[in-house]
């Protein structure tokens, strides 16, 4: 962290350029949480009102709907944050703050949570927000015939009540100290209880204009937005641009002000262009290679260790994502996330260690099959081929099976014993471990059922004491690092292209791309 501080100082003194700063900060793996105060203007300079923000975003599809339960991709994630507010929000610096909630309080054991709703928040249609609206919006996801992706994660809720117009009470089946974090999820925007979510009414910074799924959406400033002075833009226009080259062309030609998902291979080229800044920020997204720990040969912990030492993460970082990311340490948790275990040794490429573990498993060589497709992540096939070359030096012969991209998630992932995979990550350790590592989880793609690990997970969830939680999470991470069945070779950066006309508060969120989906209310025209 001190290095970051030094960089910041250099930046302020003008000794290094903004881009250099970003690059070096990114290299430190900490850019996500780093205060990027010189990007645009610092909070000391007043943000300016006005203008029309034009975004060119990948991740829009003609089958998009305004139903928050079925949102899967970026276009709708940004749009829903523009028109709706959540109960809680992760601030750019990574801390949890209230959005619609003014404050909240967890009862001992973290089984009961009371949220105080902000006073005087108005929906776009003029209706005043009450706790009932929030309850109704949450219920949308947990009703029996719910088609929402949040149905599973919200199953922990036992009851949900509006105690008064300003007080919402949530009772959980088991204690969860991170429950307020759960409410930051992009599916959980709030709309009026007497309306369908498809109407698009919310309390967000923008009022929805027209919306053509997979094509465009437009919105105008919400003058009654509950955050003082925000948003800064008068209008918002989002265009769905699937093709990466088309996005960068649109940005270069000045037809949009910002784009997401800049291809890693062109990110550095774009960075050199005048008038365009590249934001390359490490978030929680990571590539994984999970194996079924209950299927031979992966049921031998030494085989798993051997495979983990046999991958050259640095080479993958440079080749597959062109340096826009950080090497992973076989943990699905990013360095900047709370309770990250900094004491663990960074795994490197060490064929000898791999051989050693192989020997301990009683093997001189190993033949395994790994399934991959570019549907897992862009470059997954290349990554598999590179891995095959790395592992060969340790006497491990990996047979790369190329699967069909279409249907990869339904036919390969969770079905084949060793596959390439991508996780967007979760804001909290509990969420991440619960969704993919807890025994019995629908998406447990590794079948690693360490008893100590599983019981720690449950304990930590309900533990309110920060220090005790830290200890538990550190032990869990150590267990996973040593014995787990998932290789996490890389954390990939969010890379966005932004016109230099755009200014920011200085701190860019690492929770999601485009300032945690909230660029529309956090940025302005310089």
């Amino acid at each position: 962290m001190t290095q970051i501080k030094q960089l910041e100082t250099l930046l302020r003194q003008g000794k290094i350029s903004r881009r250099d700063f970003l690059k070096r900060a990114g290299a430190l793996g900490a850019a996500g949480a780093a205060p990027l105060s010189m990007l645009g203007a610092s909070p000391a300079f007043a943000a300016k009102r006005g203008g029309r923000l034009r975004l060119g975003l990948a991740g829009g599809s003609t089958d998009d709907t305004l139903d928050p339960g079925t949102i899967t991709d970026f276009f709708m994630q940004v749009l829903t944050h523009a028109i709706r507010s959540n109960v809680t929000e992760i601030a750019p610096d990574g801390s949890l703050v209230g959005d619609l909630a003014e404050s909240w309080e967890g009862a001992p054991g973290a089984k009961e949570w009371n949220f105080v709703i902000r006073r005087g928040v108005e929906f776009h249609n003029g209706k005043t927000l009450t706790a009932a609206d929030v309850v109704a919006s949450l219920r949308h996801h947990i009703r029996p015939d719910s088609t929402s992706a949040m149905k599973g994660p919200l199953e922990q809720i036992e009851s949900l009540r509006a105690l008064s117009p300003r007080l919402m009470q949530v009772k959980l089946k088991t204690g969860n100290a991170d429950f307020p974090y759960t409410l930051t999820d992009y599916h959980l925007g709030v709309w009026p209880e007497d309306e369908s979510p498809l109407q698009g009414t919310g309390t967000g910074p923008f009022i929805l204009g027209d919306f053509e799924p997979g094509v465009r959406a437009s919105a105008r400033r919400n003058p009654n937005y509950h955050k003082e002075g925000r948003p800064f833009f008068d209008e918002l226009a989002i265009t769905a641009i699937e093709d990466a080259s088309a996005r960068s062309n649109a940005l270069r030609a000045g037809e949009v002000d910002a784009i997401n998902r800049v291809e890693y291979k062109t990110a550095n080229l774009m960075d050199r262009l005048p008038g365009i800044n590249v934001l390359s920020i490490t978030g929680t997204g990571h590539y994984t290679i999970p194996m079924f720990a209950d299927v031979a040969p992966f049921n031998d912990v030494n085989v798993r260790r051997a495979l983990r030492w046999a991958i050259d993460r640095e080479a993958l970082l440079q080749t597959i994502i062109n340096g826009h990311g950080a090497v992973g340490n076989d943990l699905p948790i990013a360095r900047h996330q709370p309770f990250y275990n900094t004491s663990l040794e960074q795994r490197t490429y060490d064929p000898d260690k791999a051989k050693f573990h192989l020997k301990q498993a009683g093997l001189s060589s190993l033949d395994v099959q790994v399934s991959t497709a570019d549907a897992a992540f862009s470059g997954a096939v290349d990554a598999a081929v590179l891995y095959k070359e790395h592992a060969a030096k340790a006497g491990i012969n990996i047979d790369v099976v190329r699967e069909s991209s279409d249907g990869y998630w339904s036919n390969v992932w969770l079905k084949k014993p060793w596959v390439f995979c991508f996780w967007g990550g979760r804001p909290t350790q509990d969420q991440m471990w619960t969704v993919a590592y807890q025994k019995g989880a629908d998406w447990n793609d590794n079948h690693w059922y360490n008893d100590r690990f599983q019981s720690l997970l449950l304990q930590a969830r309900a533990e309110v004491d920060e220090e005790l939680r830290r200890e538990m999470y550190w032990e869990m991470q150590e267990l996973h690092w040593d014995e787990g069945a998932t290789i996490v070779p890389l954390f990939n950066n969010f890379v966005s292209g932004v016109s230099s006309k755009i200014a920011t508060t200085g701190t860019i969120s690492g929770t999601a791309e485009m300032d945690g989906y909230r660029a529309t209310e956090r940025w302005w025209f310089a």
Binding site: A244, S245, S248, N249, R252, E263, K265, T266, N268, L269, M270, A315, Q318, T319, N322, G323, A373, D374, V381, D382, V385, L386, R402, E403, S404, S405, D406, G407
Partner: protein, 278 residues
């Protein structure tokens, strides 16, 4: 031998065309020997390093692999696949086309209507569905493109065979009591060969483009194997940054297309007896 003797008399465009084709074939066959690096070897882990900087002939591609090496291997993969696809397409299309024309009647109607239906399907869409179902392995890709291509071959073969089957020598064979297969193979095929070979040249080149379009939709040949169509796609993003890398495989396709057509032109003119007007 006879061909060589005939070809010696061809004009310079055909000779240049043939020379280009031979160079391509040479590269395709001896790619592993000519190529300075291995097919998927990463030289510098940075995209599109220039030729001077990397000390290579054409610079590096989007993953830092030697472009010249990739183009050479691309020739090998692309040309092989294109030839197989085209051969298969012609086998299917010609067999069905000749059959329809020679048998005529209901069979002809049925086959023609089936082909109409396939053609009424948007091509990319057809490929999209089938490749999604069966996966984008090379054999599947070959069969799908071959079937799509064979509809056009069918039309041409049928039209040609229609013209041929009214010839008296076909009637002679029918009156002699010859079987269908014999008539198709010995009477129709040899006389339809010239225009079909010309068509072969063109179809062959379109295969590259089709693979390229498929790879644009993510259904092309899977990396890391080098093929020109996918290479153009993978490198196309560089064009806006003034990097000419994607033009190299595109040029490879374009030059081969032109070369093949120069030879086909000569061949057509030679065999049809059409001549330049003086």
């Amino acid at each position: 031998m006879l061909f060589l003797k005939e070809f010696a008399k061809a004009g310079w465009p055909a000779k240049i065309g043939m020379a280009v084709i031979l160079v391509y074939l040479f590269c395709a066959i001896f790619a592993p020997l000519i190529a300075p690096y291995a097919e998927t070897e990463v030289i510098i882990t940075s995209p599109w390093v220039s030729a001077e900087e990397s000390g290579t002939l054409l610079g590096l591609d989007q993953l830092g692999r030697d472009l010249w090496t990739r183009v050479l291997y691309g020739a090998r993969n692309t040309i092989t696949i294109a030839i197989v696809i085209t051969l298969l397409a012609f086998f299917i299309g010609m067999a069905a086309g000749f059959f329809a024309a020679v048998v005529g009647g209901l069979t002809d109607q049925l086959l023609s209507r089936i082909v109409d239906i396939i053609m009424a399907f948007p091509t990319l869409f057809f490929a999209l569905i089938v490749l999604s179902i069966l996966g984008t392995s090379v054999p599947v890709l070959i069969v799908v493109i071959a079937i799509l291509d064979s509809t056009r071959v069918f039309r041409i073969s049928r039209a040609l065979a229609m013209d041929i089957s009214v010839m008296d020598y076909v009637e002679v064979a029918k009156l002699r009591g010859e079987g269908l297969w014999w008539i198709m193979r010995r009477e129709v095929l040899p006389n339809a060969l010239t225009p079909l070979i010309a068509e072969f040249g063109l179809r062959f080149c379109f295969v590259f483009l089709f693979i390229s379009a498929l790879s644009f939709l993510g259904l092309g040949i899977q990396p890391p194997a080098a093929d020109w169509g996918s290479m153009v796609r993978e490198n196309a993003a560089a064009i806006t940054y003034g990097i000419m890398t994607p033009l190299v495989p595109a040029l490879a396709i374009a030059i081969l297309t032109i070369a093949v057509n120069l030879v086909v032109d000569w061949f057509l003119r030679k065999t049809s007896g059409l001549r330049d007007e003086v």
